[in-house]
């Protein structure tokens, strides 16, 4: 670890570019989104995942896993969204600990109103700037990295090495 293989010029260019794109794209998409729909990106993601589920309902645990959020974060965020009338919580029939998150009509309206504009922004600022080969490459490379990362031990909290 004391003589690390440094990044060569191309690797450095890719890494810096990635981080910069990440930041700028986020700022732009978030700005567009809130400006013309009043939703934040986290709001959008929650509503989007719910709307893709049967009947617009998901168990909190499953939604959190799908979004790669902690349950705590999701619970806090749902409380805020619930106060705005975008989602509701329902009892889970087969597990009394559980909680079902469901889209309200207002929530469905909100995501359906926001989606076209958001999609257009994603196209305008990313997808339509890429060649078909780059889109293919981006799909391949990101999935490879995701598989690599997902294959690790999920919670090595702070144990020696059981």
């Amino acid at each position: 670890m004391d003589a690390p293989r440094w990044l060569d010029e191309r690797e450095d260019r890719a890494w810096r570019g990635y981080r910069r794109m990440r930041r700028l794209l986020d700022l732009e998409l978030a700005r567009d989104l809130t400006q013309d729909s009043g939703l934040s990106e986290p709001d959008y993601d929650v509503l989007s995942d719910l709307s893709e589920s049967p009947e617009g309902r998901l168990r909190l645990r499953d939604l959190a896993d799908r979004m790669l959020w902690s349950r705590s974060r999701l619970s806090h965020h749902l409380t805020r969204m619930q106060q705005r009338g975008l989602v509701t919580r329902q009892e889970c029939p087969d597990d009394a600990r559980g909680s079902i998150v469901a889209l309200t009509p207002a929530g469905r309206e909100a995501i359906e109103a926001a989606a076209p504009g958001h999609l257009a922004a994603v196209r305008r600022n990313l997808i339509d700037l890429l060649t078909p080969a780059e889109i293919e490459a981006l799909g391949a490379l990101t999935h490879r990295v995701v598989d690599h990362l997902a294959g690790q031990q999920p919670r090595p909290r702070h144990e020696p090495a059981a």
Copy 2:
């Protein structure tokens, strides 16, 4: 805007992969970093940019611009880092409003201790998983998107269309 061109299968795969990678990579890198250096990613970025500057000093404004952070955010963050002895603030000789941020010896030690491990993590979880062609493509595509985004009006607050 009412009949948006939806994402086709490949575009969707790239877009979802990107977002998922983004999240997982962030979690992993942040976890590794704090675990073996006690620094957060924002800490690391601040120290890294400072250490790449002559004498480890930068004007707050310039550091903020370089990092794509708001001055407010940077100011708050520096206050915390200053309390931990990683950076100091100095007067700006040629502009009395200004503030110069400088690496302390402890700050330089911290970044130099953290860098090899962080670099190794970046390699392990991203760079070394990619083919040379993918690295090249990632560099090209991210820079194109960055140029596109940077070329926009920086602050179209909420004006009609001057």
